[in-house]
């Protein structure tokens, strides 16, 4: 069976070992595997950070992983953030905001019409005043937008773009921020799915080994 030489970020977060059955299956979608990794690098080690600083990228990533309640990814991005954070209180404030922001999604409103019966109300998250002071307006606006995209993407509207522009995000920076939140939404789900499958394969293999011993 094919396998891949080096572990990528998804392997790391999902606990996939080189040479394992799941590693072999991932190798059959090599372009997807390589480009999920290139996506991660394009967002966190870009050729050009443009007008989205590394600290903003890691803070948003840790927040998105955190509000998904995915401990491995949250720990990974919080550790990256802690390494480059210029203010020690930033990480603590962010952890507090993650707890305040957790809820269950997706929810939100559809355009007026027949789908309105499926409208579902839920938390409209705003950063707490203390958090706002530490994070500053620009990062606070990014976290509020990230929460909108994660939990109630169908509520997205031009006003959300206006709020980001008003907080100092350029059009290009908004594209990067949107990709960041959307990519993380993909990454944590790929990791969760593969980790669950991997655990189930482990039990299958154990059962098969036991059955094999029984036959001896």
């Amino acid at each position: 069976m094919m396998s891949t030489a080096t572990r990528d970020i998804i392997d790391l977060l999902a606990g996939i070992e080189p040479g394992s059955s799941l590693d072999g299956i991932r190798a059959r979608r090599l372009q997807a595997r390589e480009n999920a990794q290139k996506s991660y690098l394009a967002l966190f080690a870009p050729v050009d950070f443009g007008d989205v600083a590394a600290i903003e990228r890691y803070a948003v990533a840790a927040f998105v992983a955190g509000i998904h309640d995915e401990p491995a990814a949250t720990g990974f991005y919080l550790a990256k953030l802690a390494k480059i954070a210029d203010r020690s209180e930033l990480v603590e404030i962010l952890k507090g905001e993650i707890e305040r922001a957790k809820t269950e999604g997706p929810y939100g409103a559809f355009p007026a019409g027949p789908l309105a019966v499926e409208d579902k109300a839920g938390l409209i998250y705003r950063v707490a005043p203390d958090g706002r002071r530490v994070l500053c307006e620009r990062l606070a606006a990014a976290l509020e937008h990230a929460h909108l995209l994660v939990f109630r993407p169908r509520d997205a509207a031009p006003n959300a773009m206006r709020a980001l522009l008003a907080a100092g995000w350029s059009s290009t920076a908004i594209v990067t921020l949107s990709q960041l939140v959307a990519f993380l939404s993909f990454q944590v789900r790929t990791v969760a799915g593969l980790r669950t499958l991997g655990a189930s394969l482990g039990r299958h293999a154990d059962a098969a080994a036991k059955a094999g011993q029984g036959a001896n």
Binding site: S21, L22, I25, R28, R29, L30, Q31, A32, E34, N35, A36, K38, L41, A42, L43, P46, V47, G50, H68, D69, E70, E104, G105, P106, F110, P111, G113, P114, L115, L148, L149, V150, P153, R154, P158, A160, M161, R162, L165, S170, T172, I174, V175, T176, S178, Q179, V181, A182, F183, S185, F186, R189, T190, G193, L194, T196, L197, A199, S200, L201
Partner: protein, 202 residues
């Protein structure tokens, strides 16, 4: 001027899920085709994508666009082994239906119909939602996709057992995970950077 909202006329905004072809209108200014550099063209991957407002808007960050596009293509178009294309498209359509992306759902519901020839079942997914009874194999794919799209993620061992029970092997289950996970990326871009519009005359 480029850092301002593009105000769109929402008169023709679709109000229901459909398999009809829709348009998409950006809320931020896409790059101008004549001003694209080699870096932007690389990000677009296919030169024909320069005709799309959506891709010229995403081309503002070309490296992540390029990697996103190549991830997308392999997950959906690499049909060597693994899950039939129709069921990858079903996972994409179900995810989009659940998250509420009318535009994404229209595209991938059409693809699911083309590859499965089960137009009525696909339409029931759109009309009734992700609880529609589409037969046990499709139900298992839809249910796994919905659990994966939920926040916190609700995908668990029982979804894997159900996919196995209806005949999927491990590689096919990975295709379900990849297809559904990817649309949690795509839905959030399409929903938040612009809006769908009904194509007049269609």
């Amino acid at each position: 001027m480029s850092d301002a909202i593009v105000v769109q006329d929402s008169t023709n905004q679709p109000v229901a899920f459909t398999q009809d072809e829709l348009g998409w209108l950006p809320w931020l200014e896409p790059l101008v085709e004549a001003e694209l550099t080699e870096r932007h063209w690389a990000g677009l991957v296919d030169r024909s994508r320069a005709k799309s407002d959506y891709f010229r808007l995403l081309a503002r960050d070309p490296e992540i666009l390029e990697a996103r596009t190549k991830t997308d293509k392999d997950i959906f178009y690499n049909t060597a082994d693994g899950l039939p294309r129709a069921e990858r498209e079903l996972a994409a359509a179900a995810t989009s239906r659940y998250n509420g992306c009318i535009y994404c759902a229209s595209v991938h519901a059409r693809f699911a119909t083309v590859h499965s020839k089960r137009r009525d079942d696909v339409q029931r997914l759109l009309d009734e939602g992700v609880g529609a009874d589409l037969g046990e194999r499709w139900n298992a794919v839809v249910s796994a996709s919905v659990a994966l799209a939920s926040t916190p993620i609700a995908f668990g061992e029982r979804h894997i057992e159900e996919l196995r029970r209806v005949g999927l092997d491990d590689a096919e289950i990975v295709d379900v995970i990849n297809s559904a996970a990817f649309f949690n990326w795509a839905n959030r871009l399409m929903l938040s950077l612009g809006e769908p519009t009904t194509l007049v005359g269609k």
